[in-house]
Symmetry: C2
Subunit: 325 residues, 2 copies
């Protein structure tokens, strides 16, 4: 699947992923009204609105982009109907040939992580049948519980030829609270009595572990099925992490609405403009609410999204050009 992602990036010339994170305040009123008229002001109504909103954007952008990243929380808040809209969105995007990155940030231990991996990337045994629950191509994974929590995902990736992106350095303002902590290098655990007095930030320790995990499962184009999440909002840390994880594809959130710009991203990429994929959510899906795109109007919200995608590709292209990549 990492190879498919790379192919699609090369074909579209767009190392970007559209974050399908629909909160109700992004959904144009005419869509809300239509959905509520049919299903009421209920979870079903909200889910229908979200689905119609997504479909509009997908139909207007799928030819320009390699991938989408639905954020499951935005669907989970609408309960079972919301999760059905998530599933419908995933399936529809795959039909359209898009690579789907489920932003689920799951992570647990042993058989529980295995259950999440089966739920989103694999299949589950029911009697003598194998059934698929949700069916994304990649998911995001939280590493706080250590290898026990991550390995079951890697095992399912191997079997299904799918991938994961592991949180290393997130894009939010308080990500440093734990992730930037200076950690003594040497062995972990209370018994660690090493004499190594070096120090590294925790995100780098996690990055080193990701590099190890990545090496377990390489694709055919130089990158691993096991990637990382590193926010655009921390370019210096990003530069360091790119070196620490040379074979890990990096999913980069934080572009646009969160403050990252094209030039903050360049260091994530190799000389072939590969190695990273940049996410924008609000900046694309709610573009029509931005003054810059207000000419499209509410009814043509998806055309505004298309234009925002084109502009994002140009911004990143120019940033590449400015450094001769």
């Amino acid at each position: 699947m990492i190879d498919k992602l790379i192919e699609k990036i090369q074909k579209t010339g767009a190392p970007i992923v559209v974050g399908l994170d629909p909160t109700m305040k992004f959904v144009p009123e005419h869509i809300q009204k239509a959905a509520f008229a049919e299903k009421g002001e209920t979870l079903e109504g909200a889910a229908e609105a979200v689905w119609l909103f997504n479909k509009g954007i997908i139909d207007k952008t799928y030819d320009l982009i390699p991938a989408v990243k639905p954020q499951i929380a935005m669907y989970e808040q609408f309960g079972i109907p919301g999760l059905r809209a998530f599933q419908k969105t995933v399936d529809y995007c795959r039909e359209k040939g898009l690579v789907v990155i489920g932003d689920i940030k799951r992570g647990d231990i042993g058989s529980t992580s295995a259950a999440y991996a089966s739920a989103h990337l694999g299949r589950v045994q029911v009697g003598s049948s194998l059934c698929a629950a949700f069916d994304e191509d990649f998911v995001t994974v939280n590493p706080y519980l250590g290898s026990d929590g991550v390995q079951p995902f890697i095992d399912v990736c191997r079997e299904e030829k799918k991938g994961i992106f592991i949180l290393v350095k997130t894009s939010n303002p308080s990500s440093g609270e734990f992730q930037d902590r200076q950690v003594r290098t040497g062995s972990a655990g209370e018994d660690a009595g090493g004499t190594d007095s070096g120090e590294k930030p925790l995100y780098e320790i996690v990055g080193e572990k990701v590099a190890e995990w990545s090496s377990q499962l390489m694709g055919e184009k130089g990158y691993s099925y096991i990637g990382a999440v590193v926010g655009a909002t921390y370019p210096e840390q990003g530069r360091a992490l790119r070196r620490v994880m040379p074979k890990s594809f990096i999913l980069v959130p934080g572009y646009g609405a969160q403050g990252g710009t094209g030039k903050d991203l360049i260091h994530f990429f190799d000389d072939n403009r590969l190695g990273a994929i940049v996410n924008s959510s609000r900046g694309i899906i709610a573009a029509y609410q931005n003054e810059k795109y207000s000419r499209f109007g509410t009814y043509n919200y998806a055309d505004a999204s298309r234009q925002a995608v084109i502009d994002m590709i140009t911004d990143i292209d120019q940033a590449f050009a400015s450094v001769g990549k």
Copy 2:
């Protein structure tokens, strides 16, 4: 809700929670057969089997215990039908008067964490209506993303009088990989130039942060709505963390099948036998598969679970007695 949990613990004399983590291999064949006959070897069939299995156990144990902890991964693996079984289980347990701890280990940033919090503890605005998606009393939360990720849960807890348990030191073998890392104390971040040369394990840093969060939202019985998860399998770390977070109720996994015993738990409790709640999943719900309870037979699996609950209460009671608590 923390006050309700404490009341229920005092009333039952049982500081325990039954983990409703039904994998298919725990579900007796006669239940699987009945469910598959009705719904086929499908996700629907699996979900039905899981629900029937749960209901049997709940009906035979609800009078002995204060709380249950369904692990959502075990339901999510069966897709939408599985999540419907999760919801049915949550609702049924609440009807039976049980406190429900959703073991969801969610955690994201800002509005995304807020969406998870609404999904599981709160309500979501749809047009002019407020709708509830899932409706647990507590959930577990992953802290890796920092305050941005946790605060939205605390805000919803305040509004809804519900609670969370934040992962601090998990029970799994590799939990130390990141959680036990020795971290330089002083301020975080790359700019930290403090002269403080002290060191603490990361779990203690997280524990200190949990103590801070806990102080934001106290119940009326001396404990906070904001608690912590600390595994029974690491008693020494548990002892340290109990001191670091004196007002945080501690959810303790790792008892029984994972190796923790009654005496490993005592230090989590105060002199009133409060301050912690011990989870057992497999040891209770799959008790009938354990030789110790094989006399009950497969058909009476729920009676085996009841006996296992009684034995667990006795084990913890004896441990209390042995130290005069």
